[in-house]
């Protein structure tokens, strides 16, 4: 392979090389430093005059004397069955002291788009054991459902609880977890690793770690390596794969950094104008394919800068993912775990995974009713702060109390408490029973006859 020594400019993560033979767009590049270390990069722009290479590691040590080798192929990832149980760097190299991965295949990490015609509609209910998710924002296999959180909130505990407890009731199909860390601290990473080890989940997991002190640009490829692995496990080995990506905010920062280095016209708040398309090329790699056994379910985690849900990172994410689980600082301050605020949360695939034959016939209506009642009670809190409780009508007082009860009984649960969906819905009914029956306008009569605790007691008596 030919080695060029024609670097003319190095700026941030970008290296400019001149006088090359024709080089392919998005080709993988190896850069050999004078001390012999080899760094990897990718062609961002190629022409007769100059080739622009984005380096995935720090450019420290690269100079005009470094050699550039164009590999003639796009970035590929070696994948194989023996990746399960392994810990890899954010660039895909083993860092657990174990042997190299024995590749069964080498796959392009950009991953082609799944043909919409080849997709199968997701419908398998995943029970996470967390009431606010199962009851109100149900997760289904093949969904991409991010956790929107803020700095200092217990999103990692929530993600781990999901990873520990997630199951499709009644299913014994093989499953795996792919965990990709981008720019999180060593301490946070340890927290995940210890939990994986303690629960034995590590055996069925593939871990990619790009930590806070690892090169930021490497974060651009970490989620792609993770998803390539996940697709291999799912669509070639038939496993049900849960992918946890954390923290997507760090990923987006890296994207912004590269955009700035390329002197691109920035979009909102300095993030590149193509961030939507770029994020979509990650998040859309979830789903189920007709005629294949496995599935890829994604739970990306992101921290909203300034807890602002309209910030471009959560905003563009929400426009791509199939809903979002929002972790709330208010609930956290009240000492409620998991502090999930259902009002801004949403699972768009919920309707495909619930109801008779999947969860329970009353699921949808119970959830709608709890939403409406909680939203109303929550609004009244604002009013009470101004006019005092006395000014409320009796009806309004009931809704106000409902909101408190709901947070204490339904939202709050132990970090090891694994509630069944029946359990969750029954708690919901107990709460709704504190409201007059005629206020339950979202629920049809038949369901009230069948499930309302007071009506059932009345029927027994």
């Amino acid at each position: 392979m030919k080695e060029y020594k024609t670097i003319t400019k190095i700026a941030g993560p970008l290296v400019f090389v001149e006088k090359t033979e024709p080089i392919g767009y998005s080709e993988l590049v190896n850069i050999v430093c004078h001390d012999g270390t080899v760094k990897r990069g990718q062609v961002l722009d190629t022409s007769d005059e100059v080739v622009v290479v984005q380096v995935f590691e720090t450019t420290a040590g690269i100079g005009k004397d470094s050699g550039i080798r164009f590999t003639g192929e796009t970035i590929k990832m070696p994948v194989g069955r023996d990746m399960l149980g392994r810990i890899l760097s954010g660039g895909g190299k083993p860092i657990d002291g174990g042997p190299d991965i024995v590749p069964e295949k080498r796959l392009d990490i950009t991953g082609a788009a799944i043909n919409p015609y080849a997709r199968a509609s997701p419908h398998d209910f995943i029970q996470t054991g967390i009431s606010t998710i199962d009851g109100m924002n149900t997760l289904v296999r093949g969904q991409k459902l991010p956790i929107f959180s803020g700095a200092g909130l217990p999103h990692n505990n929530v993600a781990l609880q999901i990873a520990r407890q997630a199951k499709v009731p009644g299913s014994k199909e093989p499953f795996a977890v792919v965990f990709a860390a981008m720019g999180i601290t060593k301490e946070e990473a340890n927290y995940f690793m210890q939990d994986f080890e303690k629960t034995g989940a590590l055996e069925r997991a593939v871990v990619f770690l790009n930590l806070a002190d690892d090169p930021a640009v490497e974060r651009i490829i970490t989620p792609r390596l993770a998803l390539t692995t996940a697709e291999y496990l799912a669509f070639e080995l038939g496993m049900h794969v849960l992918v946890i990506l954390t923290d997507m905010t760090n990923y987006c920062e890296a994207l912004r950094q590269i955009g700035a280095a390329r002197e691109e016209v920035p979009g909102r708040r300095g993030y590149p104008g193509y961030m939507y398309t770029d994020l979509a090329s990650i998040y859309e790699r979830a789903g189920i394919i007709k005629g294949k056994n496995g599935s890829v379910t994604q739970i990306p985690i992101l921290t909203m800068p300034g807890d602002d849900i309209t910030h471009p990172i959560p905003d563009l994410t929400g426009y791509i993912t199939e809903g979002q689980i929002v972790v709330s600082r208010d609930l956290h301050r009240k000492g409620i775990y998991p502090p999930i605020n259902v009002l801004p949360s949403l699972s768009r695939l919920m309707n495909l995974g619930i109801g008779k034959g999947q969860t329970r016939e009353d699921h949808k209506k119970v959830s709608d009713q709890i939403y409406a009642a909680y939203a109303e009670g929550n609004d009244l809190r604002g009013l009470v702060a101004i006019v005092g409780k006395e000014a409320l009508s009796d009806r309004d007082k009931l809704f106000l109390e409902f909101a408190d009860l709901y947070e204490q009984k339904f939202v709050k649960q132990g970090s090891d408490e694994d509630r069944t969906i029946a359990n969750t819905l029954d708690i919901g009914w107990d709460l709704l029973a504190t409201l007059p029956i005629e206020q339950l306008v979202r629920i049809d009569r038949e369901l009230i006859q069948k499930f309302h605790p007071k009506v059932r007691e009345g029927a027994k008596a």
């Binding site: 024709p22 080089i23 767009y25 998005s26 080709e27 961002l44 722009d45 190629t46 022409s47 007769d48 192929e73 796009t74 082609a112 799944i114 043909n115 919409p116 015609y117 997709r119 509609s121 997701p122 093949g142 969904q143 669509f235 691109e264 016209v265 909102r268 104008g273 939507y276 398309t277 979509a280 090329s281 859309e284 790699r285 394919i289 309209t310 910030h311 905003d315 563009l316 929400g318 426009y319 791509i320 199939e322 809903g323 009002l343 949403l346 495909l352 939403y371 409406a372 939203a375 109303e376 604002g382 009013l383 101004i386 005092g388 000014a391 409320l392 309004d396 005629e438 306008v441 049809d444």
Partner: protein
């Protein structure tokens, strides 16, 4: 799309630079918007800029691995699509490649460099001529028919072809490429025609629409109707209900043909349409909804240049069916992703950006697109229409951004989605105070005649109550509801009934998902009936609390979920009278 290699010159065009979906070629004779084949694999691309000896091309497929020096061939044709039998029930990408065929050719993932014609070549259709030898035909004339699904596909003389006398015409089974008709001027007509997507198909005359597109959605038909041939925008933050509303329109609106464009959105949503529509029946014809539907799916992770083209592909198909005399409705979800595709391409051209990085021609492109909607007399004299409903996805849900603002300047109906409503699961989360329809006056007579002479008054009454409620709520926020006079407490309650009974509509309930105008009228009339009784009772000294606890009011909540609602509604209204009589005699 299939590209025929009838290049007008064998010029040795060569690639000079590749940077993502935009590439530069030199030594290429080209005109703007010519379709070109890029690189050794012949990827499809379109000329979007010419400067000095450089030709800038947007490529509809992934350009990874392409090198400078690879060849570029100009087809000399603009980006065109194929129109003819075989469109209905199809699902295409942004440049009319059938996704079903792509799965057969290259598997579950979309790889590049595979082309497939928009219409199946081997399938034979039963062609029934409706003109005879010796008849004179003009551009746009219908020469025959094909029973495509339950829809009759009218085969037309293409708009830009010279008319003449029919020399011969066949009858029987033909593929779309076989000649079915020849004219005395030598023109040979197969069933298929091609049309460049960026050019509107011509019509004789545009007219002002006067008939509503009935959607079965109460807040739309009842309060903010769109006309057949009209335009509407539905902007809203993520998760507020743009897609669900568009899908509801695709399912239930009384259009004869539906074109649904998934432009830069989710793959699973298109799958949902593909799995759901074949099982749903058109409430009017009882036939599977899929049979009247064409889908364009260029999801967010598919090439961005093809996303830019997808809305043009969609609207061209819509116009083609309009030319047959059909009422077509087109949903574009989401026009913001289309605008972003323009922005991405424009920034790679290093054009001077306008507002928020969008190209300065954003407003022009949007209005050109919406102008392709309309109620028309077609070239063959029929009446046809294209209604366009565009979703808009404003960053951060802020409607002051350029795509929303430029869209609102053009469209006549504004359905403003509101995150506050969707968060409390008030669906459809359309804000009744901010939304509007500029067609109300034009449609007034239709509602008078087809629904009831009372309808327009009922509508205004409901809007007034809702408006009044908004004012009262401001006071309540300061002093609590108990401080309001009795009559105003009642107004708040009546407004709540309008919101919860009439406006809220559950797309996932098998009955409530569609509500015809008769039922809408009956529901609103019942609420009005309650209101009249309530105010009268209040004047007679009955307290608001007693009125609010009237039992029949709660029964009214259930009407929307009942299919055979008429007897139930009659009983409720009778009970209502009895209850109020009882209250009044007690006080």
């Amino acid at each position: 799309m299939e590209v025929k290699d009838n290049s007008k010159q064998a010029s040795g065009g060569k690639l000079k630079r590749i940077a993502g979906p935009v590439v530069t070629a030199v030594n290429l004779d080209a005109h703007m918007y010519d379709l070109v084949q890029v690189g050794n694999e012949g990827l499809m691309g379109e000329v979007i800029k010419i400067q000095r000896d450089e030709v800038i091309i947007q490529v509809y497929e992934d350009t990874s691995g392409i090198r400078p020096g690879e060849p570029v061939i100009n087809t000399g044709l603009p980006l065109s699509i194929e129109l003819g039998p075989g469109l209905l029930t199809s699902i295409y990408d942004g440049i009319q490649r059938p996704l079903e065929v792509l799965v057969q050719k290259m598997g579950d993932f979309i790889e590049r460099g595979v082309s497939a014609p928009g219409l199946p070549r081997d399938k034979k259709w039963e062609f029934k001529p409706i003109v005879k030898e010796g008849d004179t035909v003009k551009p746009g004339s219908i020469i025959g028919e094909v029973q495509e699904t339950n829809i009759v596909h009218k085969v037309m003389v293409p708009p830009k072809v010279n008319g003449g006398k029919v020399k011969s015409i066949k009858s029987g089974l033909f593929t779309v490429e076989e000649i079915v008709c020849t004219l005395d001027n030598g023109v040979e007509l197969p069933m298929m025609q091609k049309w460049p997507v960026r050019v509107p198909r011509p019509v004789t005359e545009k007219m002002n629409p006067t008939i509503p597109l009935i959607t079965g959605q109460r807040i739309l038909d009842g309060l903010f109707p769109i006309a057949k041939g009209g335009t509407a925008a539905i902007p809203g933050p993520f998760g507020s209900g743009k897609t669900v509303t568009q899908q509801q329109l695709a399912k239930w609106s009384d259009a004869e043909i539906v074109v649904y464009i998934g432009c830069g959105e989710r793959g699973n949503e298109m799958t949902e349409v593909l799995t759901e529509f074949p099982e749903l029946e058109d409430p009017k014809t009882g036939k599977p909804l899929m049979e009247r539907t064409v889908l364009i799916a260029n999801t967010s992770n598919m090439p961005v240049a093809a996303r830019e083209a997808s809305v043009y592909t969609g609207i061209t198909i819509a116009e083609y069916f309009r030319d047959m005399g059909y009422d077509v409705s087109l949903m574009a979800d989401s026009t913001s992703r289309w605008a972003e595709a323009m922005r991405e391409i424009s920034s790679r051209l290093e054009e001077m950006p306008g507002e928020e990085g969008y190209p300065a021609y954003l407003a022009a492109r949007l209005s050109e697109f919406y102008e392709r909607a309309g109620l028309v007399h077609t070239l063959n004299g029929a009446r046809g229409s294209v209604s366009v409903i565009g979703a808009v996805s404003p960053p951060g849900g802020d409607f002051s951004e350029p795509v929303t603002q430029n869209t609102l300047r053009i469209v006549k109906v504004f359905w403003a989605l509101d995150a506050k409503l969707s968060q409390r699961r008030h669906f459809p989360a359309i804000n009744w105070l901010n939304s509007y329809s500029l067609y109300l006056e034009q449609l007034h007579d239709w509602y008078d005649k087809e629904v009831s002479p009372e309808w327009n008054k009922l509508r205004s009454w409901a809007m007034e109550v809702l408006q009044k409620e908004a004012e009262l709520q401001e006071i309540v926020q300061l002093v609590g509801s108990d401080a309001l006079p009795d009559a105003e407490q009642l107004t708040i309650e009546i407004a709540r009934m309008i919101r919860e009974i009439f406006l809220q509509q559950n797309a996932y309930d098998k009955v409530d998902t569609f509500c015809d105008m008769t039922k809408q009228y009956a529901m609103m009339k019942a609420i009005r009936h309650f209101a009249d009784l309530a105010y009268a009772a209040q004047l007679a000294g009955v307290s608001p609390l007693q009125i609010i606890s009237v039992k029949s009011k709660n029964e009214l909540q259930q009407i929307k979920f009942i299919e055979e609602y008429i007897p139930a509604l009659q009983k409720i209204e009778a009970d209502m009278e009895n209850e109020f009589n009882a209250l009044r005699s007690a006080s």
